[in-house]
């Protein structure tokens, strides 16, 4: 057998600008054209929708959700500040702008359900009940952190709270969640598993392989795509052949929903529907929750791939502010009540920094602990 004779390159003519990639500049131009009137109308519609939903949820739950959203926002602002001061190192991915997703989804859970997410995990850990002290200490790389300072920002874990981690490989947590759902069904309980991931993770094989198994074997897993429309500097449109993530479920015969991720109550309601399918019928769901990150991909991202105008468009629907305003409009909360939440959060966040500062570094021996559950001394 001889070696393959390769076809030579055909010389290109002047008029041919053959291109495999999508036009970066054209796409940016299209996103820049924002019609203010259209936007106002849309905001008003969403505003009315949230007002309607407020009536269907009890006051304590509403206030708790607002508190959690404010906590994440202030905690992340403090994380950014601490990163700038050099107290946090490595990669630090903030959750600012996406608070309604974690808070809305997790508010619908029972304490015995399981949760996984990606490296953008501070918000999820806080809502799962890991104390701000332990989260901040982890970011500072201290022994008092929820992973003893070994994991850092991307790898928060809290087994007691059934928070099964922040995972650093894009898409890596999706099969893991499929596995806990498999285990809960195996054990015959009605626990659900929730797994969060970004829209860019949907392009990984891990996502597709998981959805197929979950539907095939009827596993109670809820796949939650936090579609913030960018994977680092690449917009969804430049990385995915269709931009409708919820459509991905169709190929697997799985139930799916598209959800407004700036509306914490819409997120909660969609999660409740998915949980019902999971608990009653062992059926998985895919939720595409459309959101937006207000900050860079991580603390080291200058963010040149999107415009000020685009960011401001989404900041007008800041999920924390909108929810607070709407609760006041419905009389669930007054100015004093909001101030009280802010005060409580401020104290907790301040305390977390103090705790993290004072927590010791891990002892040198910690380098070699926790590698094995059963470290074997070889030989007889």
């Amino acid at each position: 057998m001889s070696e393959l004779k390769v076809t030579p390159m055909r010389p290109r003519t002047e008029s041919e600008g053959a291109s495999a990639g999508a036009g970066v500049a054209e796409e940016r131009d299209a996103r820049d054209r924002i019609d203010p009137a259209e936007l106002r109308e849309e905001h008003e519609q969403r505003h009315q929708e949230q007002l309607k939903q407020i009536g269907g949820v009890d006051r304590d739950t509403l206030l708790k959700m607002l508190y959690q959203m404010v906590l994440i926002r202030r905690f992340e602002e403090k994380s950014a500040e601490s990163y700038t001061l050099g107290k946090i190192g490595g990669f630090c991915h903030l959750y600012i702008g996406q608070e309604a997703v974690a808070v809305g989804c997790l508010s619908a859970l029972r304490p015995d359900d399981y949760v996984f997410t990606s490296y953008r995990d501070h918000g999820h850990a806080l809502v799962m009940g890991t104390s701000p002290d332990e989260v901040m200490a982890e970011l500072f790389g201290k022994i008092g952190g929820c992973s003893k300072g070994k994991g850092g920002s991307m790898h928060l874990f809290d087994a007691d709270k059934h928070f099964l981690g922040g995972h650093g490989i894009v898409g890596g947590q999706i099969p893991l969640a499929t596995g806990t759902a498999y285990a809960t069904k195996y054990k015959g309980t009605d626990q659900a598993t929730l797994v969060f991931f970004g829209e860019a993770a949907v392009n990984q094989g891990a996502f597709h392989e998981s959805l197929n198994m979950a539907q095939l074997w009827k596993l109670p897993c809820i796949y939650i795509c936090e579609n913030n429309q960018y994977g680092m500097g690449t917009s969804l449109k430049r990385a995915m052949s269709i931009s409708d993530v919820s459509q991905k479920a169709v190929g697997y015969g799985m139930a799916s929903e598209f959800v407004d991720g700036m509306d914490v109550l819409a997120v909660r309601a969609a999660t409740e529907r998915a949980l019902e399918r999971a608990r009653k019928e062992y059926l998985p769901s895919l939720l595409e929750i459309r959101t937006y990150r207000f900050m860079g991909h991580s603390m080291s991202d200058p963010g040149h791939y999107r415009t000020r105008a685009e960011i401001e468009k989404y900041q007008e629907r800041d999920p924390v502010k909108v929810f607070g305003d709407n609760l006041r409009e419905k009389g669930v909360l007054d100015d004093a009540g909001l101030k009280e939440i802010e005060e409580r959060v401020r104290a907790e966040v301040e305390h977390s920094v103090k705790f993290a500062d004072e927590s010791p570094e891990p002892a040198p021996e910690e380098l070699f602990t926790d590698i094995y559950a059963n470290p074997i001394k070889p030989g007889r």
């Binding site: 070696e3 393959l4 990639g21 850092g152 991307m154 650093g168 890596g172 500097g233 380098l367």
Partner: protein, 327 residues
């Protein structure tokens, strides 16, 4: 000779080879519009357009395999992994396809592809983002594995890798992208694959270092000179095929060997070098070979633990003194 960074050297290598051969294209995450996560591909999109500098979805197995397929029919892909930690998802295509294709087809195909990106640790990025994978790839016949430590080597070796007709795994180091050094002028400057380089001559002890540990070994050598110990630093540059002859010749001269590496020791490249030196120069060794490797633990996040997990100048000095029976 111009003084440039390793980042610029890699950029020049790709730019020159893309100008030279229309079949060379670059694909990976954030390589085009964002100019590379570590800015190695800066300006390439502008010069070559989005047919040849392509932002991929986050789908490592897919675009690594796509590259191998394109190479089968005559293109010369450069596949960038944002970091080699993510190449773990693509190992099936690198090992099962790229490394084996020529052999299992009885020589009908050549696979001229380069897989490149940063390997090893960065700064406090914890267990999943700090892995040195050279021993994985070097394990497999069919792959060539390259690890430059200077701007000149980075440029010359990458150009050779792109022109080579076999799959090359080209391992950079994020901590080193900003390191500066002289690079010979001219587009014809190449560094051949498979040739080690003596980075510093000495008579008392050989230190074999690669990638990140080369600058550390050179600093240690300076330090040891003050203590009256003359250290020879050998950088294999290519891990597979390994230029064991240069290493053995050095050991025959110095009679002592320390291997400094960022990776774990177990089943590592240092173990391979140590075994081969034992096979070829056992009678010349005046002390057991000493390996100084990354800790036998996943990389921790905490700064103090991370420091303990990596080789440093002080420990290289100590290792050399140890094999020289000075302490």
């Amino acid at each position: 000779m111009a003084v440039i960074t390793i980042r610029e050297a890699l950029n020049q290598a790709m730019r020159e080879e893309m100008r030279r051969d229309e079949g060379v294209f670059l694909m990976g995450e954030e390589v085009a519009a964002y100019q590379g996560a570590y800015k190695v591909s800066k300006g390439l999109l502008e010069e070559f357009g989005d047919k040849r500098v392509v932002d991929s979805p986050i789908t490592e197995l897919g675009f690594a395999g796509l590259g191998v397929g394109a190479a089968m029919v005559g293109l010369r892909p450069i596949i960038e992994f944002m970091t080699f930690n993510f190449s773990i998802l693509a190992t099936d295509q690198i090992i099962n396809s790229a490394a084996k294709m020529r052999y299992m087809s009885g020589g009908q195909f050549k696979i001229p592809i380069v897989f490149r990106g940063p390997n090893g640790s960065a700064f406090q990025v914890s267990s999943q983002h700090s892995q040195a994978l050279e021993s994985w790839y070097a394990h497999f016949p069919g792959l060539k594995v390259v690890m430059p430590s200077t701007p000149a080597d980075a440029k010359g070796l990458l150009k050779s890798a792109i022109r080579d007709d076999d799959p090359v795994v080209f391992l950079e180091q994020e901590r080193m992208y900003g390191n500066k050094g002289e690079v010979p002028d001219g587009e014809d400057f190449l560094v051949p694959l498979g040739v080690a380089d003596v980075k510093r001559e000495g008579t008392d002890c050989t230190v074999v270092a690669r990638s990140m540990t080369v600058p550390l070994a050179l600093k240690a050598a300076e330090e040891l000179e003050k203590q009256g110990v003359s250290v020879e630093v050998v950088d294999p540059r290519t891990i597979r095929p390994l230029d064991i002859e240069t290493i053995v010749n050095s050991v025959k001269k110095t009679n002592r060997l320390v291997i400094a590496e960022e990776s774990h020791a177990f089943c590592g490249v240092g173990a391979e070098i140590s075994a081969q030196v034992m096979e070829h120069a056992f009678d010349y060794l005046d002390a057991p070979v000493k390996r100084l490797s990354g800790a036998d633990a996943p990389m921790p996040y905490a700064k103090n633990l991370e420091r303990l997990a990596l080789p440093d100048v002080e420990r290289i000095v100590k290792a050399v003194r140890e094999v020289s029976y000075l302490d």
